[in-house]
Symmetry: C2
Subunit: 300 residues, 2 copies
């Protein structure tokens, strides 16, 4: 028994006529008749009552017809689905992203992608940039939104936005009144920043910025989350350099100031070049076509 036998059986069960059923199966009547008796012989079950004038289903045949229809439908969808998965229109995509992106890029990205590929189940993994990198390498993520690294040949990357650091300080801090803020102004300030093990790109940018003014930064606190940093600044415990995209809704206790020659960095979509998930390519296609439509409006 295989699915062809089932289709032959269904054809006869639906027409109750050997000749017409054979025609539907694109074969002539004699081999069709043989196949029917072969099916009945293999199953050991009489599926049709037939004299030389009439054909009708037995009770067992009626039950079998219902089963066959269901099995054949499942069979066909399985064969179709595997192609959809291979073409990236079906399946699942494990998307990692850092906290920053959750507020600026991820919501729109997820919405647009879900609309474009409704049959791809998006699995969202919020994490810190270093973990995202390792999860991409280990294959625990298919694709991620994170900071762009200067050199990452094993990753296919696409810039989603360009962000820059700005200073936030308590409203009553001396720097809050300064006209412009440069690296030298950070001398002696208690800095608050996430540790390098969490966001190496940001830490490196802060370090380079300070060094440009000949300043050795003094990190008073090193919480992991940017929101914790903002809270600590609100409490007057220091100043911080954070991405501009996070400088909204800070409240009255904190002011944000642009920096002279502010360090810039990319927020990118990236995935291993070795990725075997076809859905990865479709997400890249989406963000690329997205840029195409409104190239200038997407910078932070």
């Amino acid at each position: 028994m295989d699915t062809r036998h089932m289709r032959i059986f269904v054809a006869l069960a639906e027409t109750l006529h050997f000749g017409q059923a054979a025609a539907r199966m694109n074969m002539s009547q004699p081999p069709f008749s043989r196949q029917i008796s072969s099916i009945e012989k293999t199953l050991g079950v009489r599926l049709f009552d037939r004299n030389s004038r009439n054909v009708s289903l037995t009770l067992a045949g009626r039950h079998f017809l219902a089963d066959c229809r269901r099995v054949l439908a499942d069979f066909d969808t399985a064969c179709r689905d595997v192609q959809l998965v291979a073409n990236g229109v079906k399946g699942e995509l494990r998307l990692g992203f850092m906290m920053h992106a959750a507020h600026s890029i991820i919501p729109a990205l997820v919405r647009r992608y879900s609309e474009a590929k409704p049959d791809i189940h998006l699995i969202l993994e919020e994490s810190i940039p270093t973990d995202i990198d390792t999860m991409l390498i280990e294959g625990k993520l298919d694709i991620a939104v994170t900071f762009g690294s200067p050199y990452a040949p094993h990753l296919r990357t696409h810039r989603l936005a360009r962000d820059r650091l700005c200073l936030i300080a308590p409203a009553d801090h001396p720097l809050a009144a300064a006209e412009i803020v440069g690296p030298r102004d950070l001398r002696g300030e208690k800095l608050i920043a996430a540790p390098a093990s969490v966001v190496p790109v940001l830490r490196a940018a802060i370090g380079i910025y300070c060094a440009a003014g000949g300043v050795v930064p003094h990190f008073a606190f090193e919480p992991r989350l940017q929101h914790t940093i903002i809270r600590l600044v609100q409490e007057g415990l220091g100043v911080a350099l954070i991405p501009q995209s996070l400088c909204t809704g800070l409240g009255p206790a904190v002011i944000a100031k642009a920096l002279v020659n502010a360090p810039e960095f990319d927020v990118v979509l990236c995935a291993p070049t070795t990725s075997r998930n076809p859905a990865v390519a479709t997400l890249f296609e989406l963000v690329e076509s997205w840029d195409m439509g409104n190239a200038s409006t997407r910078n932070a």
Copy 2:
């Protein structure tokens, strides 16, 4: 694509080794390899990543594996179920029965049969004897419990019980005090009985019994249901001849009396000899083995 291809695919997906998978399919490696590439070519989807040393599933392959397992399981159960239906261990059985049987025979019959054939769905149809006869002929019922007719060559019948008529009368009725009741005692009585169109066997029995005493029966009321008959007798509206099996729990207002030469009749299980439902035979087998076990205890 057919199920054999799916089994070949599953074999390789589970072993990830062409040689072992081929052995599991009882074939040698070269044709097995050919089948795999044939499958991939037909679907147009690469299911395995393989270099000459390692085999691994692609993402599409993983999805397809899950689908194939489900489809194959459904396929196999469909092929098995059709045999079960043909052998009468699975399917459905439309069992008709008259009201009388609902109190004496049906409960035990249903319980025993459900235990013996748990995969047969019993559809119970309570009806009146004449309707049961026509529904059996029209194929709306597979089998029924009803009164035995003297001549019914188109039906396979098996006697389940032998019942007899007895008299019920209001407790204050003169006949309630009689020592024995015979047909002559019914002269002038208001009889209550179901019409011949509902239970021809009972009406015929009553008519013959009265005729034996030279009495022309006077039917005061002709309700369809035996319980209505009993209620009317309770209200003092007449007397009735009803099956002995119904003479339990009549209440204090009614007394039941045995009749001299009481008319007897069979309660039978019957099905059309032309029935195509294999479950019919299994129910006959059950009641026959049932009699075998306790032949003497089953008479009413």
